[in-house]
């Protein structure tokens, strides 16, 4: 099916997607490790389920290929069957269709975070997705869905991969969020929508994790921010144990009633995720019926974003200028040597000073390689949180930055010359983002009229390329008044561009280059520019006069800068949050002069981590911050522990394992990191660990606590098996379970403790070793 036909169909009526595969096949007797194997070993079972979905009224069937990418199949030693599993899945789904159902190739995560959060290289992720997409497209799918993604960067790799396989295949993307509207990697649903507005995808959706009731508010945010048609697939609640069977509590009627709300909120495609079956799809289809999609009101506001921070560009965008290695030999040299300490510090400082974005200019680019640019983007993603304005001249370096960047960055900049402008337009078309266009070609015109004419020329090019002008800032060009340049030309150009409805941005400090009292001059000029309609400036946010005058100038226009939420924390907490390990160590060394190591460890460092835990629990920081903090304090704890007599230094020993047949590792690793930072000794047995192996390890290592992780509904039963085996063998140990398929009620039924996330696990471990009985 062509994209245009699919989009036309979406305009006509609400479409129905099928329900779950894993949980439904389990219900139907599947007892293996990976449901995708059924494509080869028991195709009739898959076809039977898909026929039931067709009979229930599904318009779109997904192929049984959710985990059929090379990375996942390798974990099950099935990589050699990748082509057969995917090809066969398409064949089965097509044979299950009766009338005009569509078959969408189902793709999902590799199970490993992309750098810098994890170990997977972006290009590697891209190749994994491309391989699967190629097989699915070659096998004749009508479209592709990439679902249950929790890392925006991994999703971006998948989107690019699918689009490089086919520009004309309909593409649905879907991320999974917690009830607070954030993914586990800290990306909000608004950021996701903003990034997907730019990327070449047809439908944007959310699925899994939440039941319909919990998903409503998350979806309503998506509906407000997404300019693309929407898809939604909630779970049928959390699994519970009924006898020996896992059951999902959302009944078909409850599911149907809530799905009607999603349609009213603007969903174009509705379906089900874990726990839903043909009966859910059937009742939903009957209840919702044939219906045209609702016309949504979508926010017109433009945003830039990093992985975790979304900033509106209106009424005024302050972009910090100080990461500019031009003329800063020390910074340039540090960058060349892959030392990003100063660069990260500059980014963090500018955030504190009230910037909404950070301009990144690495100076002399010919002494740098692609690896430098890649590393800079990843370091800033890891240690700083503001969106970036990527001020890079060399086109292939610019592409590296945009490929690696997570969020919606600004491309700074292109000239109005077609040859310069077009490749940069291509970059934002492929990777998303906003663009700054300088009102010049080879030379800078003397007069405002000529600059405006050039801008008009650029507008025509942008329009012809399908770029909305809302995504573009025009830079009227600020020249040094010290070189006898007339600043009024810039002001006049801003005014004229503003009259044409175009956004404007300037590089402020160039004005006062070589002058005394730069701050006053900059501030006065900025005020004139704001009055003329300026919308953004790259400036030195350390200049307090400039910042105050900017606030005043905006107030005179009846506008106000969005208040910057700043974390006011004590220095140690701040250092830890920013990943400034050296500063943490220095502070600790100072304290050691007057305090015992145990005192510093437990009363200072552990307290600081407790505070960070609170910040995480109250949504003030996100998982990447928590992980960074944990990693930052770990060597400091290790150092302190080396100074403390053995036996005193650890709160207890925790043995962690992902249960048998489950290969999901991320969550468990996060728990390990946080537990270690909280003063526990952690022994990680890895993934796919049988109950007997856990028992052996418990006997040998004598941990205080065993932590078991189960991500899949097909493996959650092993938590009980392991806990039962430990009990049967008379082992006195606390057992805590966690993971996507676990919940508190299930844990109670299994006779184990439950921790929802890493922080809860840490607090529970502390509580258990503080006196509770096994």
């Amino acid at each position: 099916m062509r994209r245009s036909e699919f989009l036309k169909l979406l305009e006509k009526r609400v479409l129905f997607l099928d329900g779950a595969y894993g949980t439904e096949l389990l219900k139907r007797g599947f007892r293996g490790k990976l449901v995708e194997v059924l494509n080869l070993e028991s195709p009739d079972m898959v076809r039977g389920l898909q026929r039931d979905y067709v009979d229930a009224g599904a318009d779109i069937l997904l192929t049984n290929t959710f985990s059929a990418n090379r990375m996942k199949l390798t974990q099950y030693e099935l990589a050699e069957f990748i082509e057969r599993i995917n090809t066969k899945a398409v064949e089965i789904a097509k044979s299950a269709c009766k009338t005009d159902q569509l078959v969408f190739g189902d793709m999902s995560s590799t199970g490993i975070f992309v750098k810098p959060l994890g170990e997977l290289d972006f290009d590697e992720a891209y190749e994994i997705f491309k391989e699967q997409a190629q097989v699915l497209v070659d096998s004749g799918v009508d479209g592709i869905i990439i679902e249950t993604m929790s890392d925006l960067k991994e999703l971006k790799a998948a989107v690019l991969a699918v689009r490089d396989v086919s520009r004309d295949i309909p593409l649905i993307v879907s991320m999974t969020f917690e009830e607070d509207g954030k993914s586990v990697t800290g990306t909000s649903v608004e950021i996701y929508a903003t990034v997907m507005n730019d990327l070449d995808v047809d439908v944007v959706g959310i699925n899994c994790t939440l039941e319909p009731k919990q998903m409503l508010s998350v979806f309503s945010k998506l509906a407000k921010h997404s300019r693309k048609p929407l898809c939604v697939e909630p779970n049928a609640g959390k699994p519970m144990l009924a006898g020996n069977r896992l059951v999902y509590r959302t009944s078909p009627e409850e599911f149907a009633i809530y799905m009607r709300d999603f349609v009213e909120l603007g969903a174009n495609i509705v379906g089900g995720c874990c726990g839903t079956g043909p009966e859910h799809i059937k009742l939903m289809r009957n209840y919702i019926g044939e219906r045209s999609p609702v016309q949504r009101v979508v926010t017109k506001e433009q945003f830039i974003a990093s992985r975790t921070v979304l900033k509106p560009v209106e009424p005024f965008l302050i972009i910090g200028e100080r990461i500019n290695a031009t003329g800063k030999k020390k910074l340039q040299e540090e960058i060349r040597q892959m030392n990003f300490t100063q660069l990260v510090r500059l980014a963090q400082e500018q955030e504190q000073e009230g910037c909404a974005a950070i301009d990144v200019n690495l100076g002399l680019e010919k002494v740098l390689s692609q690896d430098h640019f890649k590393a800079v983007i990843n370091e800033l993603d890891r240690y700083a949180s503001l969106p970036l304005s990527i001020d890079v001249q060399t086109l292939n370096f610019l592409e590296v930055c945009f490929k690696e960047y997570v969020g919606r960055a600004m491309l700074n900049s292109a000239t109005c010359n077609e040859k310069h402008l077009l490749p940069r337009i291509e970059l934002i078309k492929r990777y998303g983002g906003m663009l700054v266009v300088l009102c010049m070609e080879k030379d800078i015109p003397e007069h405002s009229e000529e600059r405006v004419e050039l801008a008009k020329k650029a507008v025509e090019i942008l329009k012809a390329e399908g770029i909305e002008l809302e995504r573009v800032f025009f830079d009227p060009l600020v020249l040094p008044i010290g070189a006898k340049k007339d600043h009024r030309v810039t002001v006049e150009t801003i005014r004229k561009l503003n009259e044409l409805g175009l956004k404007t941005s300037i590089g402020l400090s160039n004005l006062s280059f070589g002058l005394p009292e730069r701050e006053s001059v900059n501030a006065a000029f900025l005020s004139l520019c704001v009055d003329a309609g300026l919308g953004a400036a790259i400036l030195n946010s350390k200049e307090q006069t400039t910042m105050s005058v900017l606030r005043g100038a905006l107030m005179l226009k009846g506008e106000q800068l969005v208040k910057v939420d700043q974390l006011e924390e004590e220095p140690l907490v701040n250092y830890i949050l920013k990943g400034q390990r050296e500063q943490v160590m220095n502070l600790v060394q100072e304290m050691l002069k007057e305090h015992e190591p145990l005192d510093v460890s437990q009363n200072v460092l552990a307290k600081a981590m407790e505070r960070i835990g609170q910040l995480y629990a109250t949504g003030k920081i996100y998982l990447p911050h928590l992980l960074l903090a944990a990693e930052t304090v770990q060597p400091v704890f290790d150092h302190l522990n080396s100074l403390i007599a053995t036996g005193e230094n650890r709160l207890g020993r925790v043995l962690l394992a992902t249960v048998q047949d489950d290969i999901h590792d991320i969550g468990k690793k996060i728990v390990a990191t946080v537990l270690r930072s909280g003063g526990f000794e952690v022994v990680d047995l890895g993934k796919n660990v049988p109950a007997e192996r856990v028992l052996e390890a418990v006997k040998e290592l004598k941990p205080n606590i065993v932590g078991l992780s189960a991500m899949m509904t097909t493996t959650v039963g092993y938590v009980k098996e392991t806990a039962d085996l430990l009990k049967k063998n008379g082992v006195e140990v606390f057992v805590i379970a966690g993971g996507a398929s676990m919940n508190r009620q299930l844990a109670q039924q299994f006779g184990v403790y439950y921790a929802r996330d890493a922080l809860e696990a840490l607090n529970l471990c502390r509580r258990l070793l503080g006196g509770e009985k096994a």
């Binding site: 009731k213 409503l216 508010s217 309503s220 009627e253 409850e254 149907a256 009633i257 809530y258 009607r260 709300d261 009213e264 909120l265 009742l283 009957n286 209840y287 609702v294």
Partner: protein
């Protein structure tokens, strides 16, 4: 002969836009108010859980029925289907207890829900009968047009319904109960 029909759940799940309109709320205007929406949905589910919908029905030749029961619009019909549909007494009791607890909002919403659920059921059963009997008149209920509402008593007795009480006013208890008639032009089916 009187037949009984127990409807499937989807046959009495009212459309939200319509049921909310009965509460004077516009679905599209309140859909952004998630808490309110969830509350409506919980009442919806509660209504579904406790309702015991059933339809009593029979078909008779038109000449066997009293002339005063036959509306003018049935002219030309050979047979008439009469049916009584009810959600049962539980929903009445729930609405009453909510009122007693001063939960007027919930009671009003549930009342609107139940009215629309009954209407949805009547629509669904109407479609079912038409599949069986072919061409027919529009559905009609006593109390409209030139037929007195007190004819409800006659219909309840004709259909031998024991769980429904008809007051002298013609009002039926449980309250979420209706009687309907459809005339069929073809006598053979």
């Amino acid at each position: 002969m009187v037949e009984l029909y127990v409807p499937k759940i989807e046959e009495y799940m009212p459309d939200k836009a319509v049921f909310l309109a009965r509460t004077r709320a516009r679905y599209k205007n309140i859909v952004g108010e998630i808490d309110l929406l969830v509350r409506f949905n919980e009442l919806f589910l509660q209504g579904l859980r406790i309702s015991r919908p059933i339809v009593h029905h029979r078909v008779c030749p038109i000449e066997e029925l009293p002339g005063a029961l036959i509306p003018d619009s049935f002219s030309g019909a050979k047979q008439v289907s009469l049916f009584l549909s009810t959600l049962g007494k539980n929903i009445d009791e729930l609405i009453n207890s909510l009122l007693e607890e001063d939960k007027t909002h919930d009671a009003a919403v549930l009342d609107a829900w139940a009215s629309e659920a009954l209407e949805t059921l009547n629509e669904a059963f109407d479609r079912k009968l038409r599949q069986r009997f072919g061409d027919g008149t529009m559905r009609f209920s006593p109390g409209y047009g030139n037929v007195d509402v007190r004819w409800n008593r006659y219909i309840v007795e004709l259909l031998k319904v024991e769980d429904v009480e008809v007051l002298s006013s013609g009002i039926m208890l449980p309250r979420k109960t209706t009687t309907c008639m459809i005339g069929w032009y073809d006598a053979k089916k």
